[in-house]
Amino acid sequence: MARNAKPNRINLALHAALLPLVITTLLAYIGSVLWTIRISFSTSKLLPKDDWAGLAQFERLFETDRWIVSLQNMGILAIVYIGGVMVIGCLLAVFIDQQVKGESWFRTIFLYPFAMSFVVTGLIWQWLFNPTLGLQNAMHSMGWTSFTLDWTVRPETSIYAVGLAMVWQGCGTTMAIMLAALRGVDDEQWKAARLDGVSKPRYYWNIVLPQLGPALATAFVLLAVALVRTFDIVAVMTSGGPGSSSEVPAKFIIDHLFGRNNIGLASAASVVMLITVFTVLTPLLYWRSKVQSRLSAGH
């Protein structure tokens, strides 16, 4: 690069312009992550302490029931939320791709939940799950007396209620991503497949789906990141309850940072989340870039 040829004035302007980026990246991102990691190795409670506690906080963490429950819930949500959204989102995209009339109406309907805050979503579904005033009662009064939908008040099912609300909110974006990817498939392949005697479902399964690898990975990554961030909807819909049955890691961490004044424990939990995210995402993103370059090489 002709760095020497650049006049000083431009160098100054460039560096001034990049200052927010530098500060944000180094301080806000790297700095805060490093500090939190440091705190996780201390015995800090309300304020950071400069001592060294080794892995004590981590041990304590995994002896805490609430944390274990939140991890289990995360696993449940991973299946219900990520799995549910991927399947329904893909199905919606495939069905809309069939040249249906009123396509834009359907798209509008499926995507609008994305525009709602998690608070709004949580409150509406809290209302719907209300055993005496919500859906359950509505079904009873319509004659379906054996219908039960009191998931939010029972510890065994509260997390599933949250999962359902999250699926409701999340399908639209995945559908949009997959629809865009579907539209990128050369439609002459369908003609060739028809000639080969391939049925439509088989065409989607054998020929289209393998080509959607990168898009599926993108959708998965976005969902995984959203999953780790889950806080709002749980706080609003069930407050983590009944008891701590619908606790999630993000809420555990925030509660311990503020209400319970235990930044050491919270930091340890944050570090665990960080490690989890990167161990899952790194191979996935690597695989995705490989597949993408392979698919686009010949076009």
């Binding site: 050369d186 002459e188 392949q189 003609k191 060739a192 497949a193 028809r194 000639l195 080969d196 005697g197 391939v198 049925s199 088989r202 054998n206 020929i207 393998p210 080509q211 392979r294 698919l295 686009s296 090489a297 010949g298 076009h299």
Partner: protein, 361 residues
Amino acid sequence: MAQVNVKDLDIVLGGNNILKSMNLEVRDGEFLVLLGPSGCGKSTLLHSIAGFIDVTEGQILIGDKDVTWADPKDRDIGMVFQSYALYPTMNVERNMSFGLRVARVPKAEIESRVERAASMLHLTDLLKRRPSQLSGGQRQRVAIGRALVRDAKVFLFDEPLSNLDAKLRSELRRELKQLHQQLETTMIYVTHYQVEAMTLATRIAVMKAGVIQQIGSPDEIYNYPTNLFVAGFLGAPTMNTFRGKLLQDNGQTTFVGPAFMANLSSYPNAKNIQTSEVIVGFRPENINLTDGKTSTNGNSGRISLIEPLGPQNIVWLTLTDGSTLSAVTDTQWHGKVGETISFDFDSARASVFDAKTEQRV
């Protein structure tokens, strides 16, 4: 191998009557090219024969079977698409065998068919590669291979060379011609490039606005175009056309135009032409430029442009009435822009059209 018969075909798409009472007979083993400008209905015709477009009226027969309402997969056809439409995540072998696997053909049979097609198309070493690892020519062969393994009786080609650069296009054209000589299968090929049509076809069907203007061998179409449209569509530079009168006098037929005259006595059946208002056409290679001296017809023009092509030159003349004439000369000819020069015609190879109907007379 089979012939294809299209009878009284009507195709209406989106309210437009694209094909009206189309009749076409493709002979067994021939390479028929559907040639025409974009929008003339050639792709529509091809896709109807393939079964991707519903027929409004009429019949399509392949071999002895009426396939008018048959599914594409039941028509014994193979098709090569403009983008080749290879399945990107499957290797060559799986691309070729996919249809057979879907039809539950026994594994041994699939293997032998794929092997046979691969050796015919020189794809044996490439069987494990994916489309993204193949060159344009190799991809075309795989697309043909897909049709080959199905024992297709008719091969359909939808402008397969349109997406390629010029050099690759001529290379693949030759491969296609060799393939046809080797396989002797009936092939129907759609293109808007006249060069492809001329070099590949056994017969060319020139189409315009859903109607076949003329169908015949390349030689027939080129030298004996049946109307003005066909005459203008083939040949580069385009045929020179002029309006004028035809005078019959004492057994001599003469064309009198605003800028020149031509003796058309050697034109086939010249004496019996009834019309006097005509459009006459001369291909640039059938015009002779004579140096300096006035030709017997008193035709002359001023050189306005010379395009050297290497083995030939294209010389553009401006005539006395302002119209232009293009002529092809060999490298021996010399001339300068601005010179006045004379010309005459090889009248036996002219084309004469009725001025009103634009049909050949």
